[in-house]
Symmetry: C6
Subunit: 103 residues, 6 copies
Amino acid sequence: MEYRIIKSPSKGTLDILFRRKGSSSTTSIENYDAIGLVQGRLIDMVFAADIAEKAAGVVVEDIKGHCPQNLIMIAIFGDTASVEAAVNEIKDKVNAARKGEAL
Amino acid sequence: MEYRIIKSPSKGTLDILFRRKGSSSTTSIENYDAIGLVQGRLIDMVFAADIAEKAAGVVVEDIKGHCPQNLIMIAIFGDTASVEAAVNEIKDKVNAARKGEAL
Amino acid sequence: MEYRIIKSPSKGTLDILFRRKGSSSTTSIENYDAIGLVQGRLIDMVFAADIAEKAAGVVVEDIKGHCPQNLIMIAIFGDTASVEAAVNEIKDKVNAARKGEAL
Amino acid sequence: MEYRIIKSPSKGTLDILFRRKGSSSTTSIENYDAIGLVQGRLIDMVFAADIAEKAAGVVVEDIKGHCPQNLIMIAIFGDTASVEAAVNEIKDKVNAARKGEAL
Amino acid sequence: MEYRIIKSPSKGTLDILFRRKGSSSTTSIENYDAIGLVQGRLIDMVFAADIAEKAAGVVVEDIKGHCPQNLIMIAIFGDTASVEAAVNEIKDKVNAARKGEAL
Amino acid sequence: MEYRIIKSPSKGTLDILFRRKGSSSTTSIENYDAIGLVQGRLIDMVFAADIAEKAAGVVVEDIKGHCPQNLIMIAIFGDTASVEAAVNEIKDKVNAARKGEAL
């Protein structure tokens, strides 16, 4: 899995993500300080989305790649501290799941 | 094959799965305690779906998503014990099939 | 190539296969004792479909994966003995073709 | 590249190929003794299609199917001797092109 | 990641890029001296798009294209010096992010 | 990258290319002596298309693979000498770019 945090994202970057989000939600995603990006396999992304959803102060979107219905990345929107906390929690729990602790 | 169990899934996670399910069933999938995720090759997933379908107390959906590697994923909804039992049965039988015991 | 035989397939499993079949045939596929699954490359699947079509007592469908028009698996419906016979014949002839005996 | 020749193809096999052919030609492909299948990379398949088109007594179609590896497949319809001759000519010329003799 | 800079791009090249751009912007992209192309994984491309967006004197578009490997590509339009500066900044920051300095 | 030159292309081969071209141009591509095919990654194909566009006496089309919006090959139409010159120039410049001389 790969992780990136973008602080003060540009409008064009938000546009790219908005065009590729899976949900039909029309909530603006432009008022956030930071974006956390997590890319990986479908099964890990669903697992990571659930962890991020349960974290405080962030909004989660799944981002499509190019093939129809590809889910390869989630984006986590929020203030910088909340996004960093959510990304770190994903890292820990996905690693734990891989080591079999979650199953 | 990869396995994950998500307990008390968040609404956003259920939305991601609901948007990607193959069936046109409109049955709500929001009233379950746990989700089991199983990702693998198409042939193993059909085999796994059949095992899960025959298990007690769970609902099975195939989830669209990973074009590049020809993988698909199934999600198994139910109470935690039933989901864990179904996932464990899949593990055992898929391993057995690979060793040629089922064929 | 990969092979699986599912005996007494569940309704959900048949639904997954029915949603992914390539033909527009509306023939019910629910009255069969067993399903044989064969997954592989396009060229081998066309070759295997022809072998199965010529076998007695089975119906053959090509099953789509996720990318548009992907053919990666065929399903063979029939009673258990006929399905097993068809799958075994495919195994033998595909192996023979690979060794150059058919060409 | 992979090669297969199917003699006296079954109707179901012809249906699979017909549903996946690229051309909008409605010419029946059911009156041929044999089918040659050639699978490979897009660039080799265009090259092979040209060789087969110039061969005597065969009809060539490109067959849709294997997105993940960027492979496509052509099918060559005709009497058995013509199909075998076309497939053998493709083998020779593609190998020659790979060795740089054609460029 | 791969980088290319095309100076004085031909009209046909701009057409290929224009047909494949993700945004619905109808802004002409024909009045620029140079194009920078950056190809990589989805997560790196979102990150790179943000860096380029924040650079001076360039316009950024994501370009659709390479389904099999989950790669996407961005194109950066502007005068030669601005495009070269944006591409160099992407190189530096992506390498830094990979070494963990950004996270 | 892979290169092929087809001299005196057959009508069926031109049809395959015409069905897969990215541009909406309806210009006939049937009056040319030769076709040069170049297959590779998206970023190299855009770069190669620009080189070919600037060469004399040839017409360039991008050719789609099977996944939607896949760009994996360009076709260069013209008389044999012009096509060979364009393909050779692409070879030289792509190799130079890979060695970092162009960037």
